[in-house]
């Protein structure tokens, strides 16, 4: 039986590579068709805001 995984992401997208690297775990798991969940917690919710302009902070 395939095991599922919950990825908890707690950092804002501008706060270093943490948010991006959590997302990379999900993307890698998606390539194997694994059942994944993402939980956006604490500052992680800032990843969900629309119309972000990362170039303004040189990202």
């Amino acid at each position: 039986m395939t095991k599922s995984l919950l990825i908890i992401s707690r950092q804002a997208p501008w706060n270093g590579p943490s948010a991006r690297e959590a997302l990379d775990i999900a993307l890698a798991g998606g390539a194997f068709d694994l059942p994944l969940g993402m939980l956006f917690l604490d500052d992680g919710v800032f990843q969900l805001a629309a119309d972000q302009q990362p170039t303004a902070v040189q990202q």
Binding site: K3, R10, P17, S18, E21, D24, I25, A28, G29, F32
Partner: protein
């Protein structure tokens, strides 16, 4: 029971030491470690260039000894490691960098290794990260 252990913090963080003690306890309890996976700042726990002060624990050195003694599969995420300057010889050559700080027994590989370990093991236990 089969464990996969993921480490997300550098050697100087308490969670890296706790992960090591946990891994030791797993083996001491007669269980098996399917794989150790080092991700995010955890790649620094694998660096051979960490020099701990004389009156502090050399956690990076202890990781290395633990892995060598027990011949464990210890994978460092290649993307996370390159970003943080943790390079094996092949990557140092490929990117023309002057230093190598990831000799054997560590292995650079991708996140697929984390997922594979999570599937093979009964438990994936994560340490550190923020």
């Amino acid at each position: 029971m089969k464990f996969a252990i993921a480490v997300f913090s550098p050697a100087h963080a308490p969670s890296s030491r706790r992960a090591l003690r946990y891994a030791e306890a797993v083996l001491a309890g007669g269980h098996e470690i399917a794989r150790l996976f080092f991700y995010q700042d955890g790649v620094h726990s694998a660096s051979a260039n960490v020099v701990a002060p004389q009156d502090e624990l050399d956690v990076a050195g202890q990781w290395r000894a633990f892995i060598e003694t027990n011949q464990l599969d210890a994978v460092v995420c290649i993307a996370a490691a390159l970003r943080r300057g943790v390079l094996d010889e092949a990557e140092a050559n490929r990117h023309q960098r002057p230093a190598v700080n990831l000799p054997k027994p560590w292995e650079l590989s991708g996140l697929g290794q984390l997922h594979e370990a999570a599937q093979v093991a009964d438990r994936l236990v994560c340490f550190g990260g923020d």
